[in-house]
Each structure stands twice: as structure tokens, then as C-alpha cells.
């Protein structure tokens, strides 16, 4: 296999609070190939956003630190680059879009000027050239009358248009990777369908690789090539979409699929996961999912299960995976 475009290995993020140091991202590893769309799936507190912010070194607070982890871009380690060199990667090689574009666009600057600024910061060139490039970008993301609309301010755009502008801004430097943090969660379903289609077209047209952060398995099923499921800051399952959705190994993945209201008849109860996701200061020992898990065995609360491969590219971290007879005796039956 060729060198992956991005290889994240053992990425860890710690937070310092009054109650001590807690790991909110604990040894997350994944790979991203060129042109691949990877879905990072998890509930709140699963560390999906933090992991991506950490690999861009955009941690929102000074209390957060990255004690270890490696991020390789084209096989080259970038984690130990000094900040001034890292700035050539952030934005230029890896772009990012967010859930709420309104809070990531400058409200008093015209959309076109914001994009042109980014073009000139990373590529230089004349003002005129940057303006032309801006209009081209706005056209690519499907904004009608790009020349007119580039003169608009963010508040004159609708939610879907702002997200399109945000994508144009991220594409301004022609990045290889786009990190999309819940970009469609705040949008109406009809507009969400438009944005998902746009992202797919961008991948097909320019070989863009995308890390798509979401809690919505439906979106992942439609958009992504592979899925990485996070729980309590750790990867619990990772594999190609078709395999993972057809035969999930980790009970959490299976549980998430059972929660989908779309599958089943009116009035039928949903199969839910009991309990609540853990909080950072009270992470369970061993496998962090074990208090909510229906497949729990004695080993689960003692040791953290390692990621095991079921197919060369389908891994899960579980002592008693779904779809197999329990290898270890169940806890209750003893």
C-alpha cells in the first residue's frame, strides 16, 4: 500500500482541571488516503472534534495539551515542527470548516475580501488575481452570481450559502485535506443534502480528502468511504463503510445503529444504549464503554481492549465483539 496522505498515530490530548489531568483524546490513530472521505463518528465528549483540532494544533484552551502522538503528512512528521513552519500546513495543506459558519466568518468584511485575503496570504500574487480566484471559488461551491455575491457581507447570506462560502474559504489555498466539523448539523435537511453533494463533487473533481466529523450515521452512510467510531476519546471501531455498517463488531457501533429512528415501524420502541456517555473526570476503567455495554465480560472493566483486526482494514477494540460467540465467560453468568 502506498504511503497514506495523513497518518495519525497515538494522538493524545490532556486537560488540566481542579480534579487532575484527564485524557480527553487517548491514543487515537487513523489513516487517510488521497481522495478518501473518512467519517469520524461519536457522541458529545467522544473526542472527535478535539482530535481534529489537535492535529491542526488549534486547541481552544491553554489548559489543553498534546503530551504525545504523531501526525505524518505524506510520510513526514509534522507534530514537532515549530509553529512558524506549521502555519504553512494549517490552512494551506489542511483546511477546516465548522458547524456554525456565522461565527467563523468576519461579520464586517465582505465575503469576497475574506477569501481573497486568504488566497494572497498563502499564495501571494496581485489583488486582481486574488479577486478572480475568489469568484472562481465561489462559482465552484455553487453560489449563484458569484461576482455580485462576493460583495455581500456574511449576514446577507442564508445558512446554506454561508456554509458554501466557508467551504470556498477553506478551498482558497487548494488544500489536500478538508476537515469538516459537523458542517451540516445546523442546516435544514434539504440544504444538508445540497452540501453533502457538493463535498462529494469536490472530492471527485479535485481528489480532495475529507475528514467528516458527525454524530449522524445516516450522513456517514451516504457520504463517507470509511468510518472511525470514537467513544470516550478512544477509537472503538474503524473500517470501510459497507463492512462496518453491515457487520459492526463493537457493541457501541451496533448500539448506535440500533438507536436510528429511521429503521422500524411507527410506535415500535427503539433499541437504545442504557446510561449516559461518560464525562472527562469520571472515565470508567478498562474499556470506557463497559458500564453501558450489553456484551460486557469480566475483563472489560480491568484492561483496555486493544484494537484487533477482523479484516485487514476493519479493526475493533472489544473483548466480546458482536456477531461472535463470547470467547470469555459473561460476567453475570458466573
Amino acid at each position: 500500500m502506498s504511503t497514506p496522505l495523513l497518518k495519525v498515530d497515538g494522538l493524545t490530548v490532556e486537560t488540566k482541571t481542579e480534579t487532575g489531568t484527564h485524557r480527553i483524546v487517548d491514543g487515537v490513530s487513523f489513516e487517510l488516503q488521497k481522495g478518501e472521505i473518512l467519517g469520524l463518528v461519536g457522541e458529545s465528549g467522544s473526542g472527535k472534534t478535539m482530535a481534529c483540532r489537535a492535529l491542526l494544533r488549534l486547541l481552544p484552551s491553554s489548559r489543553l495539551s498534546i503530551p504525545k502522538g504523531s501526525v505524518r503528512l505524506d510520510g513526514k512528521e509534522v507534530m514537532d515542527l515549530p509553529e512558524d513552519q506549521f502555519r504553512a500546513i494549517r490552512g494551506k495543506r489542511i483546511g477546516m470548516i465548522f458547524q456554525n459558519p456565522a461565527s467563523h466568518l468576519d461579520p464586517v468584511m465582505r465575503i469576497g475580501d475574506q477569501i481573497a485575503e486568504s488566497v494572497r496570504f498563502h499564495h501571494g500574487g496581485s489583488k486582481r488575481a486574488a479577486e478572480e480566484r475568489t469568484i472562481e471559488l465561489l462559482q465552484q461551491v455553487g453560489i449563484p452570481d458569484p461576482k455580485e455575491r462576493s460583495r455581500a457581507f456574511p449576514h446577507e447570506f442564508s445558512g446554506g450559502m454561508r456554509q458554501r462560502a466557508m467551504i470556498a474559504l477553506a478551498l482558497a489555498c487548494d488544500p489536500d485535506i478538508l476537515i469538516a466539523d459537523e458542517p451540516t448539523t445546523a442546516l435544514d435537511v434539504t440544504v444538508q443534502a445540497q452540501i453533502l453533494r457538493l463535498l462529494k463533487e469536490l472530492r471527485d473533481a479535485r481528489g480532495l480528502s475529507i475528514i467528516f466529523i458527525t454524530h449522524d450515521l445516516g450522513v456517514v452512510a451516504q457520504l463517507c468511504d470509511s468510518i472511525c467510531v470514537l467513544y470516550g476519546g478512544r477509537v472503538c471501531e474503524h473500517g470501510p463503510k459497507e463492512r462496518l455498517l453491515a457487520a459492526p463488531r463493537h457493541p457501541y457501533t451496533a448500539g448506535l445503529m440500533g438507536c436510528q429512528p429511521a429503521i422500524g415501524a411507527t410506535g415500535e420502541r427503539l433499541r437504545t444504549i442504557p446510561g449516559y456517555p461518560p464525562t472527562v473526570d469520571a472515565m470508567p476503567t478498562g474499556c470506557r464503554f463497559h458500564p453501558r455495554c450489553s456484551n460486557e465480560v469480566a475483563e472489560c472493566s480491568r484492561r483496555q481492549p486493544p484494537l484487533e483486526a477482523y479484516e485487514p482494514d476493519h479493526v475493533a477494540a472489544c473483548y466480546n465483539p458482536v456477531g461472535e460467540a463470547a470467547a470469555l465467560p459473561a460476567k453475570e453468568s458466573a
Binding site: 435544514d188 454524530h215 429512528p261 420502541r269
Partner: protein
């Protein structure tokens, strides 16, 4: 189907919010046209889903139903009491017999009251139980929504989002309401918790014969929970009927487009190649005729010219469109479920 008289009924309800600052000197009077003639009736024991995109007026309708907004025109009658008249006695009946569950569970609770106090407050104000029975009743209500009564001493910050929402539901149940309006009450919750709350509503519906108006943008949840569904677009109901009928064979192109846009977890069912274009126009400036016509793939010249179509009805299923039943393609999901 029960033929009981409706518990709540609206007749041609119009609600416009005046806004300032239109025109050259800010002199033109403008209004956000949130509701433009909504007629809906809900029978006791029924769960009805109000769905639509943002700006469709679904939340405004929910608030108007409980007398929390003053309507510009039309009537709302709750159990023979006029919500719209604004008479003190009638409003107090509505306050005693209805309750609302909100989207953001943390903000809907008073941060300085513990969960138990928040519920006890409702019991006290409405004089639902004698003073010495309040503690017992609080514990009972907490159990009813699946919470350990030991949590009653906690303040909202010490509870998770799902737990807060359960407290919010317990507060609503404390009123022993005839009608609950739940406004996007699971939208802010994690997927695994969403399922728990939906199941809780399904249980409560069975046990207590609740009448529930469930406002949501998530069609899959509405399909699971509700007996009937009303689809709103720019302040009008464009389609209304039994949930399964609406979802398996929608009769309004907007409903059809909404259903097609839901991302399915089955990778073999793909999103439409040509998703519906555009976004809902501003309710400040409604399109002429049928307000959906600028986005409608089936629009005819008459759609922009004639007044908006009224709800046509056939077998309990109403739709406001010139198209006849069967003229729209059935959604992929419906065909798939049939083949399964």
C-alpha cells in the same frame, strides 16, 4: 379512528410579527409572516408531529396553541375554551391543563433550583397535591421519567443533557396536562439519549393516553413516534395525514423532497442526485401564489398566479397542491420497505 371531539382546534390562524426598518427611510411597515392560515385539529390521545424547515412556523404554531403568542387572526379553541380570546379564566384553564417541553433542557431549568425543587414548584403553584405529599409525588414523577429519585437533590449543572430533559418532561407531567407541546425536545441530545427519550414518550403515550404535539425537524423521529404528521412550509400546512400514509406516498412535492433528503443509514439508498435547490424564502417576503412554487419541480404557471391552494382531502389525508395523488414518485425508502 376515534370520533371524539378535538381537544384542540385551530381555524385559519394568522400570526404576523411586525418588524421595523423596511423601505428607503425605514418607514415601510413590514411583518414576518410566521403563520398564514393554519387549520389543524388534534383529537385526545393523538400524537401529531409538526415538521418543516426553519422558518416554517412550526414553533410559532406550538406557542400560539398554548396562548404564548397573540395571534393576528383566526381562532384557537382548547377543550371548549378560547385560547385566542385572552380571557383570564380561559387562559388559566389552559395553563392548568397544558404543558410544554423545550429544546434546550439546561436553559429551560432554573439553575438555582435542584431537580426536585423544580418539579415541586410546579406542584405547589398548581396545587396538585397537598403540601405534605409533595416529596412523594416528586419521587414518583422522577421514577416515571426513568430517573433515580436520589438525583432530585442535584442542580441542572450536575446533570447530563439527557437527565435534564427528563426533569423537563417530569415538570410537564407534574401538571397532569391534557396536552403537551414538545418543541424540538430531542434535537440537542446525543443519538443514544434521543432514543431513550423517544421510548419514554412512547411509554407515556401508552400509559397515560397523552395528547402530544411533537415539533421536530427530524422526520425519522416523527415517523417513529407520531400517529399523524402535519408538514409546514412558510406558515402553512402543505400536507397532513396519518404518518404512514404521508411517508409512504406523499402528495405534496415539498413533503416528497423532504423525505428524499433524509440521509439513510443504508448505503445502498443514496441521496438524490439532484437535491431540491435553494432554501426557504424569507417569511418577510412571501412568494405569490403557492409559496413553494419557486423551488417546486412540478410548478405550473398557475402556481405563482392563483391564490395558494387550500387543503384537499381524501381518506383522512390532506394536501395543498394542484397535483393529484399518485402523480409524485414514491420515495425510495417506501419501495425498499415494501420489498423487504
Amino acid at each position: 379512528m376515534s370520533q371524539a371531539p378535538p381537544l384542540i382546534e385551530t381555524d385559519d390562524v394568522v400570526l404576523h410579527f411586525p418588524v421595523s426598518g423596511g423601505g428607503a427611510l425605514g418607514l415601510t411597515r413590514r411583518a414576518v409572516k410566521a403563520l398564514n392560515g393554519v387549520s389543524l385539529s388534534v383529537r385526545p390521545g393523538e400524537t401529531i408531529g409538526l415538521v418543516g424547515e426553519s422558518g416554517s412556523g412550526k414553533s410559532t404554531l406550538g406557542r400560539a396553541l398554548l396562548g404564548l403568542e397573540t395571534v393576528t387572526g383566526g381562532h384557537i379553541v382548547f377543550d371548549r375554551a378560547a385560547v385566542t380570546g385572552g380571557k383570564r379564566q380561559e387562559l388559566s384553564k389552559i395553563r392548568r391543563e397544558t404543558a410544554m417541553v423545550f429544546q434546550d433542557p439546561l436553559n429551560a431549568l432554573n439553575p438555582r433550583l435542584t431537580a426536585g425543587e423544580a418539579i415541586a414548584e410546579v406542584l405547589r403553584v398548581h396545587k396538585k397535591v397537598p403540601k405534605d405529599k409533595i416529596t412523594d409525588r416528586v419521587a414518583e414523577l422522577l421514577q416515571m421519567v426513568g430517573l433515580d429519585p436520589a438525583l432530585s437533590a442535584r442542580r441542572p449543572q450536575a446533570l447530563s443533557g439527557g437527565q435534564c430533559q427528563r426533569v423537563g418532561i417530569a415538570r410537564a407531567l407534574a401538571v397532569e396536562p391534557k396536552l403537551i407541546v414538545a418543541d424540538e425536545c430531542v434535537a440537542a441530545l446525543d443519538v443514544s439519549i434521543q432514543g431513550q427519550i423517544i421510548n419514554l414518550f412512547l411509554d407515556l403515550k401508552e400509559k397515560m393516553n397523552l395528547t402530544l404535539i411533537f415539533i421536530a425537524h427530524d422526520l425519522a423521529i416523527v415517523r417513529r413516534l407520531c400517529d399523524r404528521v402535519a408538514v409546514m412550509y412558510l406558515g402553512r400546512i402543505v400536507e397532513e395525514g396519518p404518518t404512514e400514509a404521508v411517508f409512504s406516498a406523499p402528495r405534496h412535492p415539498y413533503t416528497a423532497a423532504l423525505i428524499e433528503s433524509i440521509p439513510e443509514i443504508d448505503p445502498t439508498v443514496s441521496l438524490p442526485d439532484a437535491p431540491m435547490q435553494g432554501e426557504p424564502p424569507s417569511p418577510l417576503n412571501l412568494p405569490s401564489g403557492c409559496s413553494f412554487h419557486p423551488r417546486c419541480p412540478y410548478a405550473e404557471p398557475q402556481c405563482s398566479r392563483d391564490p395558494p391552494p387550500t387543503l384537499r382531502r381524501r381518506d383522512d389525508h390532506g394536501w395543498a397542491c394542484i397535483l393529484d395523488p399518485g402523480q409524485l414518485p414514491r420515495p425510495q425508502t417506501a419501495t425498499r420497505l415494501q420489498n423487504a
